[in-house]
Symmetry: C2
Amino acid sequence: MKPTVLLTCRIILEAEKKDLEERFNVITLWGHEDPEAFIQEHKEEIQAIVTDHIFPVRKELIENLPNLEIIATDSVGFSHIDIETAKEREIKVTNTPDVLSECTADTALCLMMAVMRRTCEADLFLRVGKWFHGDMPLGRRPRGKLCGIVGLGRIGKEIATRCEAFGMEIAYHGRTKQDVPYRYYPDLQRMAEDCDVMILSCPGGPATANLVDSHILEALGQEGFLINVSRGTVVDEPALIAALQGGVIAGAGLDVYLDEPNVPEELISMDNVVLLPHIGSATVETRTEMGQLVVDNIAAHFEGKPLLTEVKI
Amino acid sequence: MKPTVLLTCRIILEAEKKDLEERFNVITLWGHEDPEAFIQEHKEEIQAIVTDHIFPVRKELIENLPNLEIIATDSVGFSHIDIETAKEREIKVTNTPDVLSECTADTALCLMMAVMRRTCEADLFLRVGKWFHGDMPLGRRPRGKLCGIVGLGRIGKEIATRCEAFGMEIAYHGRTKQDVPYRYYPDLQRMAEDCDVMILSCPGGPATANLVDSHILEALGQEGFLINVSRGTVVDEPALIAALQGGVIAGAGLDVYLDEPNVPEELISMDNVVLLPHIGSATVETRTEMGQLVVDNIAAHFEGKPLLTEVKI
């Protein structure tokens, strides 16, 4: 009998879902009146969970599934999975690193350029007929400016490469100095004082919660821009709203929020922000690769082969 | 007595305008009920014209100013100036090359990323509350795709550098093969068949009029994107509208139009386009540098020094 895989979300594209269905007994959490009851009904049979960054795999769920062997998340982050409980039960966890680094870096650049050059605002300016009455107000140029990257991991390095092509200087903040040709700041406050654009590409979770607070925003300053493609938890959201309202910083480009898909009304009404609905890796190409990696990890597990991208816990 | 300089447009920022006013007798074409009569009144005294890409300096105007010595345009393009008439009269023409190359290349990247990743659409998607009902449809990833640049001049080369950082392959079309590590296509149709994204950064004027017509758009194909930061004349606009409506190409990002600021209603109502109001060089930093270069050219002329950026005619 094929092992049973529980899909919690629709993130996997059709072709990869088909691939999964050919190899496993796939059951989905959607399409049921009472998902809790559905899980109860299938709890003995579920051996694998496929999830994404939205659907949390909590202690209760893991403890409720006696035969669970693997949790495969279709995301690079895994702070939505109760890793401790998984570890105790010797349940494997896999994620999808690397394949989405470039797309997420692209999203950071989309945001930075859109905020600095005011392109979303400009597109609307033209469409509502304002161009007939005068030119669009000027934007800002990235060249020569200092870009401070918080978290110079795989995504951060891809961001650095792109920003360099736009003529920016690169600095970074993180736990350790790396062998890279960029300026290292052990102190985030100091980096915020020096940089013109701060891009967040660090992991989420407790270690980085509210890392960017009112002090950091004040240090970034009234000509500074904040870009977040990391997790909403990294930024003190009320402090960011206050900073944007009060002209403490010039603008922000956000792909992530504290309580997605809820975005504070104060942000939605602002002009000096670009707000994306968490599209970090949302391209056909990358989602295809991520979905395939999820399927390959689960297949490898049940074939007794080494996992491709296991989260070391 | 200070020479008289006619400013036709408001493109020069305040600081540089002040600089100009300290050295010259500056008169402006705006703020008069009858600009034609104003010119008639000052025709003997005008020795220099400062203009931009919007205001045309036609044969009639040049011939009407007996003491005109120099025309300084605050733009890289000069197809809006009657060069032949200027040449006959030995009137100098200066433009502002180089200083705006990077900004215009940035604009091309803003457009490419916004169209491929659907960011303006995504920002609106979030703001109107659609995220509560499901995810934003997926975009496309630049990495691994072929970017075909039409016109590999200063701006085209800056575009190539940026696109490479996004993991794209680069091709180009132009009159001559250059010593660059990019694939050269002497035939535009062939390049359109091969490339995924076509970026126009060639000069305007008769030589490139309607260069991109329905055949080129068909060759670009239904997964292809067109980006134009050159001049509206380079594209057969009705053919582009038909191609976008019929799914002949996937989308377009435009900063320039045939009859600015008039943008066809058909384009304004489309989702698969990003429409910028000609913001190519519109940053505080670049407009400051451009304005300074205009002032410096005029100053150099009247001090008998070599011009900084003369258009060779």
